[in-house]
């Protein structure tokens, strides 16, 4: 859309006086409501005073209409001055301006008709009455559209409709809750399963039915939709289109959009956002602190630059976090990301989530790739970043591998919540499942309190497969076959098997644990043979072997293959007090 050309206006007012003009012009929204009210009253009086019962109101008609007409003329003048700022959509402004001017003229005419009454003009009176009323509505509407945005009146109605379509048929709260509880064999809510399957298996871009962020925002306000949100959260999203753009549309477009572009800034298209405004760029990809698109949101409310300005509807904290996360992750306009319910992180990697059906996992496994979990990622991310991946691999093989890298990566990815009912199950079995933090759903499990260990307990862990990162089975009678179950837990980075009953054969299963970083098998019957199996654990960084039947030669062999592997074989022997420094360790 075109902007108002200012050239002609400059002939009339130079820039200096334009400042004053605009200051005065800004009174337009204040003054304009006077003629609206007064004219309405005048027109009302004119109409009702025709009825005999209200005859006594007749003298008030012309008085009221006079001030109404005067007010509309004043409004026109102020409105013109305001239009000089050029912040407004030319098309709409044109309509508003001319309906306003015509209204002022007609209103004056109506006033004249009533002020100087002539018997034969009653038809003209009627026509101008209708004309004024219509103009009042039309001009007022255009004015509103200029200030609040064109769809201000209709957006709520529209949104409701959209929501109705968007939500799965189980929009009824009781049903949704039920849905959450009903878990199929994979521990997945049935409903979501269906959604995911169709999207991802067909390799389509995810169609986000109900992930309208407006809805997400409103979700935090009520319980049923909250559950719905939790249900949806694991889904990948075109981050800009589905998450950011609606926020901007809702809160920013009215001043920085097609109708108005305050500070010469528009936020209604990726190009415009990249371009920035009169103060330069507003988006520095990857750095929210340098992006005024974010920083202005978090300025104190009383700061002049705080956006949206005081009095306008503000972004919710979650929305602000979302903007932050989006910029932090590169501020891309075409990348698929997934977001968490807490709204704090947007991650580029799509990991198989708790809601991912079994069939997808098998699909993942069948793909002959070294990155077994990347199928979802591949098909969803428009711009891949393989370069980064490669770098990491190089780093891992050449330099000593850094502790906790893998775990940190996993913890950054987002994941669904552990079902509280499942947690109860673990509590009953005395398995401690504790979270990594308040803003994460990842957990560690500890069997320290387990009384009558049974390998069936490990099957239950499959339910929290996506969330489980550390597992401590120390001192339990864990046998070789149990390790098969353990190895199927894909996100385990730390595994404690010390003083269990495992033998060499069991360690062979651990090669299927791509993320394993730390393994503690001290006090077991492992020999060099078992140790050799561990060479398949490419990410192993720390290994505790004290009290096993391994030999220095076996350890050395493993060290050669897994470079940088820290092996603690224990056996502390201090130097005697009188001898020189340096301990003998290992």
């Amino acid at each position: 859309m075109q902007r108002v050309s200012l050239n002609t206006n400059y002939y009339i007012l130079n820039t200096f006086s334009m400042n004053y003009a605009e200051i005065i012009g800004r009174f337009h929204p204040l003054i304009v409501h006077l003629p609206i009210g007064i004219l309405t009253l005048g027109l009302l009086l004119a109409a009702v005073s025709r009825i005999e019962k209200y005859e006594m109101l007749r003298p008030a008609v012309s008085f009221t209409l006079f001030w109404g007409a005067a007010g509309s003329i004043g409004s026109c003048v102020l409105g013109y001055l305001l239009s000089l700022s050029g912040d407004y959509n030319a098309d709409l402004l044109f309509k508003h301006q001319w309906t306003g001017i015509v209204l002022a003229v007609v209103a004056t005419g109506v006033w004249a008709l009533y002020r100087f009454p002539k018997a034969d003009l009653s038809f003209t009176k009627g026509v101008t009455w209708i004309l004024t009323t219509s103009l009042l509505v039309v001009a007022g509407h255009y004015g509103g559209a200029l200030t609040h945005g064109e769809n201000y009146l209709t957006e709520l109605i529209f949104k409701k409709k959209k929501e109705k379509i968007a939500l799965p048929p189980t929009n009824d709260s009781t049903q949704v809750i039920q849905n959450q509880i009903v878990i199929n064999e994979n521990g997945l809510p049935n409903k979501v399963l269906g959604l995911e399957k169709s999207n991802i298996l067909q390799g389509e871009k995810p169609q986000i039915q109900s992930q309208n962020p407006i809805k997400i925002t409103s979700n935090t306000e009520g319980p049923p939709s909250l559950i719905a949100a939790a249900k949806e959260e694991a889904k990948p999203t075109m981050a800009y289109q589905e998450l950011i753009q609606p926020i901007l549309e809702q809160r920013c477009y009215s001043c920085h959009g097609p109708n108005k572009s305050k500070a010469d800034l528009r936020l209604d298209s990726p190009e415009a956002i990249r371009k920035g405004g009169e103060n330069g760029s507003i988006l520095t990809a990857g750095n929210p602190q340098k992006s005024t698109l974010y920083t202005y949101l978090v300025l104190p409310d009383d700061d002049d630059m705080h956006m949206p300005p005081t009095g306008k509807p503000q972004l919710t904290p979650d929305q602000i976090k979302l903007v932050h996360a989006w910029i932090e992750k590169g501020g891309s306009f075409d990348k698929v990301m997934s977001f968490s319910k807490t709204g704090t992180s947007v991650n580029q990697k799509i990991t198989p989530s708790v809601f991912q059906p079994e069939s997808i996992k098998t699909a993942v496994k069948n793909v002959p790739t070294s990155v077994p979990q990347s199928i979802v990622l591949k098909e969803n991310i428009a711009i891949k970043e393989p370069v980064k991946e490669e770098k990491k691999v190089v780093k891992e093989t050449i330099i000593d591998r850094k502790l906790e890298d893998k775990e940190a990566q996993i913890l950054k990815q987002k994941v669904g919540e552990v079902n509280p009912q499942m947690l109860q199950k673990f509590t009953d079995q005395r398995i401690i499942v504790s979270k990594f933090g308040e803003k994460t759903e990842y957990v560690m499990a500890n069997f320290v309190n387990v009384k009558n260990y049974d390998s069936g307990y490990l099957d239950n862990l499959k339910i929290i497969d996506n969330q489980l990162v550390r597992l401590k089975l120390s001192n339990q009678p864990v046998k070789d076959d149990d390790l098969k179950k353990v190895a199927s837990l894909k996100n385990i980075t730390r595994l404690n098997l010390e003083k269990t009953l495992i033998t060499d054969a069991g360690l062979a299963y651990l090669k299927d644990m791509p993320n394993l970083e730390q393994l503690n098998i001290y006090g077991t019957n492992i020999t060099d043979k078992g140790l050799a199996h561990l060479s398949a654990c490419k990410n192993l960084k720390v290994l505790f072997l004290w009290g096993t039947k391994t030999t220095p030669a076996g350890i050395e062999n493993l060290r050669k293959i897994l470079r940088g592997l820290q092996i603690d074989a224990g056996g502390v022997k201090f130097m005697k007090q009188d001898s020189t420094k340096k301990k003998v360790d290992n």
Binding site: N520, Q577, K581, D585
Partner: protein, 475 residues
């Protein structure tokens, strides 16, 4: 009518309904609102913790940093000369030395060398510490506001110089809970070198205003670690169980009347005691440890109640996922005869402390256990009392002292902070008690500013109103 009866009578029907309506409403609301908004149990950790457990080897009485870690050759060079007044300025000293006419610099015959790849300075008093130099992170610039033992110990343990605040371990127990349900989450072990020393009080491991199950449980040395834990002769397990069930029932009935939360704590503690009847003798029995362990922890480790034996116990408790083990070793308050006294104390703790670190390491426990070693303040660089070539004493010195940490999340093989040539003032990177506390909490995954408990209309936290996480010691 006593005050308790009065309270009970006040709970009439209307109060009960009010209470329960609010209760129901609050329960429903708490399901909807983000956790923490309505108070209640904190949901910790805030973020992924590096450390899950702590062993705090508290050196009570204040070990002299100058003889152990903070090498100041100038003290020997200027032996007997006055401490320049400009160094001390108008800072206060204790009443014990305030009226001394002179402040002669003192340093005994101790040899300092650098050890390990990290080249950490240590004296020949610590031959075993020397061997674990690369595991340790020294903070040389700890400083406190208190100048006497009781307020200073209370300060570092509770964040306030005056009593009445919960101990560090109580906070951790309250915030993070216990992993092992059969052992208390906060355990306390005491040992001492001399018969006479600065006393320690139960207030140091008190829960204060936190629920009382978070109080530190002190284990005595010997056959009976917790008094009255065993069933009397003739009382079998079933009878005990029945008795506890009946008692719990009575307590629950009482709760309905009084809504007194302390009763819940009481139920929890009875249950804990019941479980401890088996778990404690099991865990605290070190007689089955192999000889190699005793060898490693040193000759005293077979002696129940010694620091070395307590270190083995600490390791065993940590192995069983106890959250916080607090050891105290008393006897470091060397106002006189320091050169000979400090040798005894160093010998008490040197080998066992080092052995504990390595023992945790070989068991893989150092990956998520934090070990802290240190006292409540330091000791001054000038002699207290008469200075002779081989004898002197040192007075309290709150303005700088050294502690070390090892294990989870700590940058090993580091020395943080610097003091001046006299070991009197800090010249770089000071670490206040509250900074230290917030750093340790950070390692446990806790934002110290958000971990509060509301009591008497105010939100309290361990770090009171101060504290910054010391990033320089984090791995």
């Amino acid at each position: 009518m006593n005050i308790f009866e009065e309270y009970n009578h006040k709970m009439n029907r209307r109060d009960f309904l009010n209470g329960s309506v609010l209760g129901l409403g609050a329960t429903a609301l708490s399901q909807l609102l983000p956790s923490g908004l309505l108070g209640g149990e904190p949901k910790l950790p805030h973020f992924a913790p590096k450390a899950k457990r702590i062993i705090y080897l508290f050196q009570s009485g204040a070990p002299s940093q100058l003889e152990l870690f903070d090498y100041k050759p100038k003290l020997k060079q200027m032996f007997g000369q006055e401490l320049p007044p400009s160094v001390r300025g108008d800072q206060r000293v204790t009443g014990m030395t305030a009226f001394q006419k002179s402040f002669p610099l003192a340093m005994g015959d101790f040899t300092f060398k650098q050890y390990g790849e990290s080249q950490a300075w240590m004296s020949d008093l610590l031959p075993y510490h020397q061997q674990i130099a690369d595991e340790l992170c020294f903070i040389k610039t700890m400083h406190t506001e208190a100048i006497n033992h009781d307020p200073a110990v209370t300060f570092i343990q509770t964040g306030s110089q005056q009593g009445g605040r919960p101990s560090f371990g109580s906070w951790m127990s309250y915030g993070l809970g216990s992993e092992n349900k059969n052992l208390p989450s906060f355990c306390v072990l005491l040992s001492r070198s001399n018969n006479y020393d600065q006393p320690l009080y139960a207030k140091l491991w008190n829960n204060a205003f936190l629920p009382s199950e978070h109080q530190g449980v002190m284990f005595r040395s010997g056959d009976d670690p917790i008094l009255y834990l065993k069933d009397p002769q003739g009382l079998d397990k079933t009878t005990r169980r029945d008795m506890l069930d009946a008692l719990a029932n009575l307590h629950k009935q009482q709760i309905e009347h009084t809504l007194d939360d302390e009763l819940n704590s009481r139920i929890a503690q009875y249950e804990m005691a019941y479980r401890m009847q088996t778990s404690v003798p099991e865990t605290l029995d070190i007689s089955k440890e192999p000889d190699s362990v005793f060898e490693m922890y040193g000759p005293n480790s077979r002696k129940a109640g010694s620091y070395a034996a307590n270190c083995i116990l600490a390791r065993k408790l940590i192995e069983n996922d106890v959250r916080f083990v607090q050891l105290y070793h008393q006897g470091w308050d060397q106002h006189g005869n320091l050169p000979s006294e400090i040798k005894k104390l160093a010998k008490d703790v040197d080998q066992a402390s080092a052995a504990l670190v390595l023992d945790l390491k070989q068991r893989g426990l150092l990956e998520d256990t934090l070990v802290i070693w240190g006292g409540e303040f330091g000791r001054g660089c000038y002699s207290q009392g008469k200075l002779t070539p081989d004898n002197y004493g040192r007075d309290h010195h709150p303005r700088c002292y050294t502690i070390w940490m090892a294990g989870a999340g700590v940058k090993k093989g580091t020395t943080y902070g610097e003091t001046d040539d006299f070991g009197y003032n800090i010249i770089k990177d000071p670490v206040h008690i509250h900074d230290f506390q917030s750093t340790v909490m950070h390692l446990m995954g806790i934002d110290h500013e958000r971990f509060t408990h509301k009591f008497q209309g105010r939100r309290y936290r361990l770090t009171d109103v101060a504290g910054h996480v010391v990033k320089g010691v984090l791995a």
